[in-house]
């Protein structure tokens, strides 16, 4: 079989199982062979009849052989080819022939000096070397002899005979031009020695139809089709697709990378997290980014000289500077709670509370301010809310710090809500995010009691703190009008969890401005949302 037989092209013809649809040229090969003697042809002959180059046929022949329609066999022959000199001699005659003819014109005895003279040679169209060769041959043929520096010719009859002999040799040489030889005889050897011919061994490829092909031809099962690389509207409309042969696609060839326009991976993840919280009965709420210290700190029972309220932990506004709270009673309740505990049962912080300080405008440092506004508006009842938005802290942006990040804040409000419910939330939420078991430890936050910190096990970083929370203090709830309900609250820095889930090591990459970075990130998948 010929090497490199490729996969067969594919035909969509529904009768393809009985009929064999062949590309046009392959069909023609079968046709030509079927008309040949013994249904066998040399490739050269085949290609001649097809009007093509033999090398162009090889792929088709390999395919046909693979299909079992043809058989190929090889034979070796000798090819003769005239050399340049040989060609010249055939055209102009051998040098001895030409010299002899010239000598006949000149006389019976010619001095060698005359023969070698330029004028003589020009007339005879012979080079010095050719003259030498010709003299040697003529001596050997006894047409001449050399006596005292002169050439003496033989008799006219003898010379006629010799000339006839030389002519027949020349004819013999002419016949060797592009001849195929079955054997190398003395004449051939003679010409080869005189470097008038070259001999080459050649492989002859013979192609013949198989019995299978003959049978199929007889039944008319072999037909001609066209090979296509792609389907075109024309092929569909014309119905030519039925006789089309589809070139098989090479799947190993790599294709160019294209990038879909898509959602920002972090925004997409945050949206999924919103879905999780909604599925747990939480209603999303929102609040302002520019906030009064009052809502961000005072309402949370954070004393006015609490370190978190200093300029290295909170962004204060240059413009606008100061806000207002229209509910003066609310201000009064918070003031009293800070100063002496008011009616909350607390001692309070025991300092003079300043309304001026409380009305300063800041960029919110925690979305807990949103929870405060929600509790103030809704009061007592049974509800759950969350907010997932940005907060701000005066940090210098580096791989682990950011002046702006997302916080996921939530509250569960109700008469029977306890600390254990908060622990349930942590575990349930971690489970849904696929973060595993939450380890808890006591913690301190100024506005919750008891307070807790939840840790999850990160494959690379070990135990990391991700879930801070607690039960809002009465000093927080009473001034907002909540005396008979508990509130479980938590505020999660979601960036850290997002970094683990998106496999990002540098916090700045969460807000990367590089499209070539973002588009390489896989689409985030939270498996719990898919069940």
């Amino acid at each position: 079989m010929l090497a490199g037989a490729p996969d067969a092209p594919i035909s969509l013809d529904p009768k393809g199982t009985e009929n064999l649809l062949l590309p046009e040229r392959q069909f023609r090969i079968i046709e030509v062979l079927s008309k040949a003697d013994k249904k066998v042809l040399e490739v050269n002959e085949l290609s001649r009849q097809l009007g093509t180059d033999p090398s162009a046929l090889m792929r088709d022949l390999a395919e046909l052989e693979a299909k079992g329609l043809i058989r190929t066999s090889k034979r070796y022959i000798i090819k003769a080819k005239l050399t340049e000199e040989g060609e010249k001699f055939v055209k102009k005659g051998f040098p001895e022939e030409r010299l002899l003819k010239k000598l006949l014109e000149v006389g019976e005895e010619v001095p060698l000096s005359t023969i070698f003279s330029q004028s003589f040679r020009e007339r005879a169209e012979l080079s010095t070397d050719e003259v030498k060769i010709a003299i040697n041959h003529l001596i050997r043929l006894r047409a001449i002899r050399i006596e005292r520096g002169s050439v003496k010719l033989a008799s006219k009859e003898e010379i006629e005979g010799i000339l006839a002999r030389i002519r027949s040799e020349r004819e013999g040489l002419r016949k060797l031009r592009d001849a195929t030889l079955s054997q190398v005889d003395d004449t051939v050897q003679f010409f080869r020695r005189r470097k008038l011919i070259e001999l080459r061994e050649k492989t002859i490829l013979e192609v013949g139809l198989t019995d299978k092909a003959l049978e199929m031809l007889e039944r008319g099962q072999i037909r001609s089709g066209i090979v296509v690389t792609r389907l075109t509207p024309e092929l569909i409309v014309s119905g030519k697709w039925r006789s089309a042969i589809f070139k098989k696609f090479d799947l190993r060839v790599d294709v160019p990378t294209v990038y879909p326009s898509r959602k920002h991976p972090y925004m997409e993840l945050l949206d999924d997290i919103r879905e999780i919280l909604a599925s747990m009965g939480f209603e999303e709420v929102k609040g302002p980014h520019v906030e009064l210290e009052f809502w961000n700190f005072d309402s949370l029972f954070q004393a006015q000289d609490h370190p978190a309220r200093e300029i290295h932990d909170t962004f204060y506004l240059k413009f606008p500077k100061r806000g207002s709270v229209s509910d003066k009673d609310l201000l009064e309740r918070v003031k009293r709670t800070h100063e002496n505990g008011w009616i909350t049962g607390s001692k309070g912080w025991g300092y003079k509370w300043s309304p001026e300080k409380a009305l300063k405008l800041i960029l919110r440092t925690q979305t807990t301010a949103v929870s405060m506004r929600v509790i103030y508006e809704r009061g007592e009842g049974e509800y759950r809310c969350f907010s997932l938005d940005r907060v701000f802290r005066p940090e210098t942006l580096d791989p682990t710090h950011s002046m702006e990040f997302y916080q996921l804040e939530g509250i569960i409000v109700g008469r029977r809500v306890t600390f254990r419910n908060l622990l349930w939330f942590f575990n349930e939420f971690a489970k849904k995010l696929g973060l595993g078991w939450v380890k808890i430890k006591p913690a301190y936050f100024p506005f919750t009691e008891p307070s807790v910190e939840g840790f999850i096990k990160h494959p690379k970083l070990g135990w990391i703190e991700v879930f801070p929370g607690g039960m809002f203090r009465p000093e927080v709830l009473y001034p907002l009008g909540v005396k008979n309900c508990n509130v479980a609250a938590w505020g999660i820095g979601i960036d850290r969890i997002a970094m683990a889930m998106l496999e990002i090591d540098d916090i700045r990459d969460l807000f990367s401005q590089r499209i070539d970075f973002l588009r390489e990130k896989p689409v985030p998948i939270i498996r719990s949302l898919w069940r």
């Binding site: 326009s261 920002h264 949206d271 919103r274 919280l277 909604a278 009965g281 209603e283 999303e284 709420v285 929102k286 302002p288 980014h289 520019v290 000289d305 370190p307 300029i311 962004f315 204060y316 506004l317 413009f319 606008p320 806000g323 505990g341 049962g345 025991g350 300092y351 960029l363 049974e382 509800y383 759950r384 940005r390 005066p394 210098t396 942006l397 002046m403 109700g414 306890t418 600390f419 254990r420 419910n421 622990l423 349930w424 942590f426 575990n427 349930e428 430890k441 006591p442 301190y444 009691e449 008891p450 307070s451 039960m471 009465p474 508990n486 807000f511 401005q513 590089r514 499209i515 973002l518």
Partner: protein, 555 residues
């Protein structure tokens, strides 16, 4: 949170029992002390702000004794009567001083280190870097009662400050010593400085700056005088309680003597006040708040393990809280102590059934719809920081007069203001991605903050959508196609009104009008703006107020 180092052997000495590593890693976190590392005998942990009594080995050991049930209930201190008077005549800007005497001490190198470190940790936290309160400890044998707290002129007096060899005036101390330079701002500018001096004229200290070398506490010190000065009497007393009770743990046994402080207005305060705080504790609070069912006896014993005294009176517990427990303001704080002694790990979660279906905020829902439409139109989503700067938001956008929301204390030049629109940030992002080929199509959906005098916080947050297209062949048509597609998808009728905006090319900008209100703007960006962002290609963009869109759609 303050990081504390204690010595394992010293801690064992104070606890009176050897401590295994398991016990350390179990009980320290139970007291909110997060272990940072244990190297040899040195244990490093992070304590929480609310428990200054745990800022040194003495207080930690006292709490551990309770958890280990080696000594439970209230720690009673051996307090004798008043042994001296202290006239308080300090400067008006730092009027308060209180004092105490502790005798019977047995100090070694580690004990000294702990007491000094406690003082420093209190200074940096509760004392607000000495601004509010500052502490001094002195070897009692070097001073003669009565001690006075006075105000003196800076050049009037000189003494050898701690760690120095030469006497210096108060002003010299402020400029020449390290502590002086660190805390000078607390007194500088006043004509008189505070001073603590004994009856023979020996200077004890220049509060809140530095003590004197002559009165310093050493390993040989058996008795100390402690002073606390400050601007808030309540805070001064609290700090004194923590420091005195901690130092007292080094007594064998301790004897605490009281100081009667007399103020100029005739007021007298006896310090330290080491009386226990009485609080009634409703045992039901544990179940109501924490969710665990415990009997009154169990609660009593858990409180005692946290070093409170608790006696049942009728159905409640009468609790006595130690003076150093500054964090106990309310019953809920005791409830947390009960939970901590019970062990957080033993509490266990309890599901709470959902009473209402949850929901995602409508603004997020419409944002998702818009995202889908924009992505369908071939735009790529980006998300920028809300913080930006006036150069990007105003100057580069050719908006000369606009005032944006700026912070007073920025950390980085690039982030000094809050964005009031999205296009500037989008242009910034675009200019970083021009090499990726054209057309570049980006969008952002995010919050911006607008100044609004009608609001209590003088601003309002708005959700905006902005998108842009950049290529060598952009004209207004390409963005008009986009707004048409968005509005058609949302089924909102709109018109365009020719308008003027410095950021856009005149005659190629328009307001997007719905029901006679402008909800956004679109146009071809002005070449001057493009140059400011180093974009050398025509750019078209639009920005819409999504809140307006939401109102229109949900109407």
């Amino acid at each position: 949170m303050p990081v504390i180092q204690v010595n394992w052997r010293d801690l064992e000495k104070l606890v009176g029992k050897s401590l295994s590593e398991e016990e350390i890693s179990q009980y320290l976190p139970a007291l909110k002390c997060e272990i940072e590392g244990i190297v040899g005998d040195e244990i490093e942990y992070e304590a929480t702000h609310d428990r200054p009594d745990l800022f040194s080995a003495e207080g930690l050991a006292r709490a551990l004794k309770g958890l280990l049930e080696l000594e439970v209930g209230l720690r009673k201190f051996n307090v004798k009567g008043i042994s001296t008077e202290l006239p308080a005549r300090g400067p008006a800007y730092r009027p308060y001083v209180l004092g105490a005497i502790v005798r019977g001490l047995d100090l070694d190198e580690e004990a000294l280190k702990q007491i000094m470190n406690l003082q420093e940790k209190l200074h940096t936290t509760y004392c607000r870097d000495r601004r509010k309160v500052s502490i001094g400890l002195y070897d009692l044998s070097t001073v003669k009662f009565p001690i006075k707290y006075i105000a003196v002129k800076p050049e009037e007096i000189s003494f050898v400050p701690l760690g120095e060899t030469e006497p210096m005036t108060l002003n010299e101390i402020l400029s020449r010593t390290e502590k002086g330079r660190m805390y000078a701002h607390l007194v500088r500018g006043h004509d008189k400085y505070p001073l603590l001096i004994d009856s023979e004229g020996t200077v004890l200290s220049f509060p809140p700056i530095i003590n004197s070398e002559d009165t310093k506490v050493t390993e040989n010190t058996r008795e100390v005088f402690i002073d606390v000065t400050g601007v808030d009497l309540n805070a001064v007393m609290n700090v004194l309680k923590v420091i005195v009770t901690s130092v007292a743990e080094r007594g064998k046994p301790e004897v605490i003597e009281l100081v009667k402080v007399t103020f100029e207005d005739g007021r007298e305060v006896v310090s330290p006040d080491l009386s226990a705080q009485e609080m009634l504790f409703d045992p039901n609070l544990v179940e109501r708040l924490v969710g665990i069912k415990l009997g009154i006896d169990d609660i009593r014993s858990l409180l005692r393990r946290m070093r409170h005294e608790a006696e049942p009176v009728n159905d409640v517990l009468k609790v006595q809280v130690a003076p150093y427990r500054l964090d106990i303001l309310h019953q809920v704080d005791l409830a947390e102590d009960v939970a901590m002694a019970y062990g957080y790990e033993n509490i266990g979660p309890e599901p709470i059934p959902t009473s209402h279906p949850g929901s995602v905020h409508p603004i997020e829902k419409i944002s998702r719809k818009l995202r889908d439409i924009l992505i369908g139109l071939g735009f790529f989503e980006v998300s920028n920081y809300m913080m930006s700067n006036p150069d990007v938001l105003v100057t580069r956008m050719r908006l000369k007069e606009q005032r944006v929301i700026e912070v007073e204390n920025p950390k980085m030049e690039k982030y000094t203001a809050v964005r009031n629109w999205l296009i500037p940030g989008l242009l910034e992002t675009a200019s970083l991605n021009l090499k990726l080929g054209y057309p570049l199509k980006l969008f952002e959906i995010g919050d911006v903050v607008i100044v609004d005098e009608r609001e209590e916080n003088k601003t309002r947050t708005e959700r905006h959508l902005a998108c842009l297209i950049i290529s060598p062949e952009e004209t207004l048509t390409n963005i008009l196609v986009v707004i048409k597609a968005i509005m058609k998808a949302l089924n909102v009728a709109y018109t365009l009104r020719e308008s003027e905006h410095p950021s856009f090319i005149p005659g190629r900008t328009a307001s997007i009008i719905v029901d006679n209100n402008s909800i956004g703007i679109l146009g071809e960006i002005h070449p001057e703006v493009l140059m400011a962002f180093e974009i050398n290609l025509p750019t078209v963009c639009l920005e819409i107020n999504v809140n307006d869109l939401l109102r229109i759609i949900s109407y």
